[in-house]
Every structure is written in structure tokens, then in C-alpha cells.
């Protein structure tokens, strides 16, 4: 018995060492830059256009998506060997939908006003391609811990772009940041007006396009020549 505890202790130690190995760390950092789900994989664009008019909903949305991708990845990875292959997509969707409904219920109980503001978009996380994309591409073939990290990384990668776009759109569209006025009154007095295009989803499309452009210009490896 002592041998058994010893061996689990060793296993745990090895496990701990591996927890934040360089490879695992890359799972979190890669999606932030060179493998960003929005700018490189071009997934989850619809919600990136919809919820980025203001920073606060964008932040809450980013947190919710991160929670959902992380735990959906974790759960699917835990049960990946038992999922019947023919219904694996349905199983993935059931897991995602359950998590999203849970997140929605918790938001309603804890931050009711934010939940009202985000309204349908929380429910629409279910249709966010990033979540299912990561389940198919990563969680189905990897161990739970790396899958969990991959989920967090991709959720954050999505969130980073979301917040960047939201900051630009709120500042130039409404002159505020998180609801506080950032463009001083004298600039308005001098004839400046808020940009009406910025509050429409089209502006998010332009901003994301420009971000993609800058990112690929700086790193030619990312350019898909085909």
C-alpha cells in the first residue's frame, strides 16, 4: 500500500511539473497571438461584430466564452473515449448548451443588469464556432488538462480581440470608455462629433480587418499563400 501511495505521489509530482510546462503554456499564449481564433482561424466573428459596441458587455461576453470553452473542452476531453462516434457532434452540442444555460442562469442571479444588456448574445454562445471548433480540433484528441488550457487560451484570444474592438468602437462611437466620458467637451465644442459608423456592426468588420492586416504584415509566416 505504501508503494501505491508512493507511486501516486510520484505521478502527482510529475503531473505538477507538467502543469505549466512550456508546451502547456503555449496552449494558452498561442491563441492570444499567432493562432488567434478570430484573426487567424477567423471563427466567432458574428458575436465579435454584435457585442462590441461597448466595453462592458464585451468584457462579460469574453469571460463567459472563456468559461464555456474551458469547461466544454475539459468535459469533452474527460469523456472523449466513451463518446459514440456517430453522435459525437450532438454530444458536444449538448455539453456546450448545458454550460451556456448554466452561465446564463448564474448571470441572471448575480449580475441581473448585465445579463439584461447582453440578452440573447449569451444564448448565442452555443452557436459560437470557436467552442465547437476547439472541441473537434483539440479536446477530442487530448488529455483533460491541456484541453482545459486550450479552452482558456482560445477564450482569452477571442476576448482580447473583442475588447480591442470594443474600446475603439466605444471611444470613437460614443466618446466614452466603460461608460465614463473620455473625449473632453472642448473637442466637441471645436466641432468634433462621434462617429456614427462606429456604433454599427460594419465598423467592427473594418476594425477586425485592419487588425488582421497589421498582424499578417508583421508576421509573413501567417499569410496563407494558397
Amino acid at each position: 500500500m505504501s508503494q501505491a501511495t508512493e507511486s501516486t505521489a510520484v505521478a502527482q509530482q510529475q503531473n505538477k511539473e507538467a502543469l505549466f510546462s512550456p508546451k502547456n503554456r503555449r496552449l494558452v499564449t498561442d491563441p492570444l497571438t499567432d493562432n488567434n481564433p478570430i484573426t487567424i482561424q477567423v471563427l466567432g466573428l458574428c458575436s465579435a461584430l454584435a457585442v462590441t459596441t461597448q466595453v462592458k458587455p464585451a468584457l462579460i461576453m469574453a469571460i463567459c466564452v472563456t468559461v464555456v470553452t474551458a469547461f466544454a473542452n475539459l468535459i469533452i476531453s474527460l469523456i472523449r473515449n466513451g463518446i459514440p462516434n456517430r453522435i459525437r457532434m450532438i454530444v458536444q452540442l449538448v455539453v456546450i448548451a448545458t454550460l451556456v444555460v448554466l452561465v446564463d442562469q448564474v448571470l441572471r442571479a448575480v449580475v441581473y443588469d448585465v445579463s439584461k444588456q447582453l440578452s440573447v448574445f449569451i444564448g448565442l454562445i452555443i452557436t459560437n464556432c470557436i467552442v465547437m471548433g476547439r472541441l473537434e480540433a483539440f479536446a477530442m484528441g487530448n488529455k483533460p488538462w491541456p484541453s482545459f488550457l486550450d479552452g482558456i487560451g482560445n477564450g482569452l484570444g477571442y476576448g482580447v480581440i473583442l475588447v480591442m474592438v470594443a474600446v475603439l468602437r466605444e471611444v470613437f462611437g460614443a466618446g466614452t470608455l466603460l461608460g465614463f466620458k473620455v473625449i473632453p467637451q472642448f473637442i466637441y465644442d471645436a466641432g468634433y462629433t462621434n462617429n456614427g459608423v462606429m456604433v454599427t456592426p460594419a465598423a467592427a468588420m473594418f476594425i477586425i480587418g485592419i487588425i488582421i492586416w497589421i498582424q499578417r504584415a508583421r508576421n509573413p509566416k501567417l499569410v496563407d499563400i494558397s
Binding site: 463518446i83 459514440p84 450532438i90 448545458t98 441581473y112 440578452s119 456614427g196
Partner: protein, 257 residues
């Protein structure tokens, strides 16, 4: 590991998974229900009070509501109805009922400066429901304040109706002229500040603005009989000097004209 491709395995797997998910969701929904209901009630009280003044602290809202707000239920003819709780009435459902069965909630805020009538509103925006409260001064026509909210208007466009800049511009405006609804939310910016019946709309959200306008008119028409009853009742007992003279009374007289 059994054969994960067999039919029976697939069926059993799907059934068990569905069952587990159903239990988990039901448990979460039931467990969170009381907290959600609290949040919803608090939110409703906050919107009612926000038509008069801005409160953000939870305990302050509950205290203020309990101490100063009187709930009244009225019917289509403007009579007060006993035995119904205004707070539990859902305006959306009441508007769908036939006139005879309709019960409308009204909230009266008793402030030191006099009574404010907080009229609930409900209507349709661009995507989904919009609702709100408009607080009227004692003349039952001048707007003291408003609060609006929505279910699914576009963030940054129609969703702006619950922002302070939109709701504060109604202050001091008037709903009607000689009993006819006249308030107008214009398309985009550029309302004449001296016009008592005009407020700015939201650029890019004209339909939501029209919806707000329409629901204000609907509530105005629905509560008009009750307000007219109060006004005519207020004029009669003016002659006997049973009431001690107070500033509140003077305001009523002025407003009644």
C-alpha cells in the same frame, strides 16, 4: 470499453447523457430561482424609483420603496380596484385582456414636494419588448422623470433608451395638450429645447424611438380616465376649509387648471 459504435451503446449513451443534463439544469434553475426572483423584483423597484430619482444602493431602494411608494390598481374606467396587488400585475398581459377585465397598476410616490404618479408602460421596440415608467407631477401631465428598459434592442443603438442622456431629456416636457397626446420623439437629434413636446431620438434607432413614443401614448390613454377622476375630485373639496393649507395643495390647484 464496450463497442462505442454499436446501436445499443449509442442509444444508452444518449439517454443517460440527456437525463444527466436535464437533472443538472433543473437543479440549477430551481436552486437559482429565488435569487433570480429577488434580482428581478429589485430591478423592477429600481426602475419604478428611477423614474423619480436615481438610486443605486440595494438597501436604499428597498427602504425607499417600502416607505414612500403606494401601489394602486385601477380599471379601464378609472376606478380604484381593491384586492389586487399592483406589483404582481404584468402590464403586458393586462393590455391583452378585454377592457372590462383589465387591471392597471399605478405607483404613487409620496415625496415631501407632493405626489408623483409613476405610470408603467409597455410596448414593442425593433426586436423585442420595451417597457418603462414615466413619473408625472401633480398636474398629471408634466414629466418628472422616466426610466426605460428593453429586452433585446441593439446595443449602442436602440439599447440607448435606458441610458441617462435619453431619459433625462424628458424632464419638464409635457405629455399632452388639452387632453390630446402630443409628446414626440423626433428622428435623430435636433429637438427644439423650447418645445415642451419634443425630445431627441437616437440616431440609427428610429423604430425603437417610435416604439417608446407609442407606448407612452398607450399608457397615457389608458390612465387618462383615472387622472381625470382625480382632477375633478380634487377640485370639489377645495371649498370646505377642512384641509390645512400646505404647499402641496397649492401645487394641486395650479396643476388642476
Amino acid at each position: 470499453m464496450p463497442n462505442t459504435n454499436s446501436n445499443s451503446y449509442t442509444f444508452i449513451y444518449a439517454s443517460v447523457l440527456t437525463l444527466m443534463v436535464a437533472v443538472a439544469l433543473a437543479a440549477a434553475a430551481t436552486g437559482l430561482k429565488p435569487i433570480q426572483q429577488q434580482a428581478i423584483d429589485l430591478d423592477k423597484k429600481r426602475s419604478i424609483l428611477n423614474a423619480v430619482a436615481t438610486f443605486s444602493d440595494k438597501n436604499q431602494i428597498l427602504k425607499e420603496y417600502a416607505e414612500k411608494v403606494t401601489e394602486v390598481v385601477i380599471d379601464k374606467q378609472g376606478n380604484e380596484v381593491q384586492g389586487a396587488k399592483a406589483f404582481d400585475l404584468v402590464l403586458k398581459k393586462e393590455f391583452k385582456k378585454p377592457d372590462a377585465e383589465r387591471k392597471l397598476p399605478l405607483y404613487v410616490y409620496n415625496s415631501p414636494e407632493g405626489k408623483k404618479y409613476i405610470v408603467p408602460m409597455h410596448g414593442a421596440g425593433l426586436w423585442d419588448e420595451i417597457w418603462g415608467y414615466v413619473a408625472l407631477d401633480e398636474d398629471m401631465n408634466t414629466i418628472k422623470g422616466t426610466s426605460f428598459d428593453h429586452k433585446g434592442e441593439t446595443p449602442g443603438l436602440g439599447a440607448e433608451i435606458n441610458q441617462p442622456w435619453f431619459k433625462t431629456q424628458f424632464q419638464g416636457k409635457q405629455l399632452s395638450d388639452a387632453g390630446v397626446f402630443k409628446l414626440d420623439i423626433i428622428k435623430g437629434k435636433g429637438a427644439d429645447p423650447n418645445n415642451k413636446f419634443q425630445v431627441d431620438g437616437i440616431s440609427g434607432a428610429t423604430i425603437t424611438g417610435d416604439g417608446v413614443n407609442a407606448m407612452m401614448q398607450k399608457s397615457f390613454e389608458s390612465y387618462k380616465p383615472y387622472f381625470e377622476r382625480i382632477k375633478s375630485a380634487a377640485k370639489q373639496p377645495e371649498q370646505p376649509v377642512t384641509h390645512p393649507p400646505s404647499s402641496t395643495e397649492e401645487q394641486t390647484q395650479e396643476g388642476g387648471e
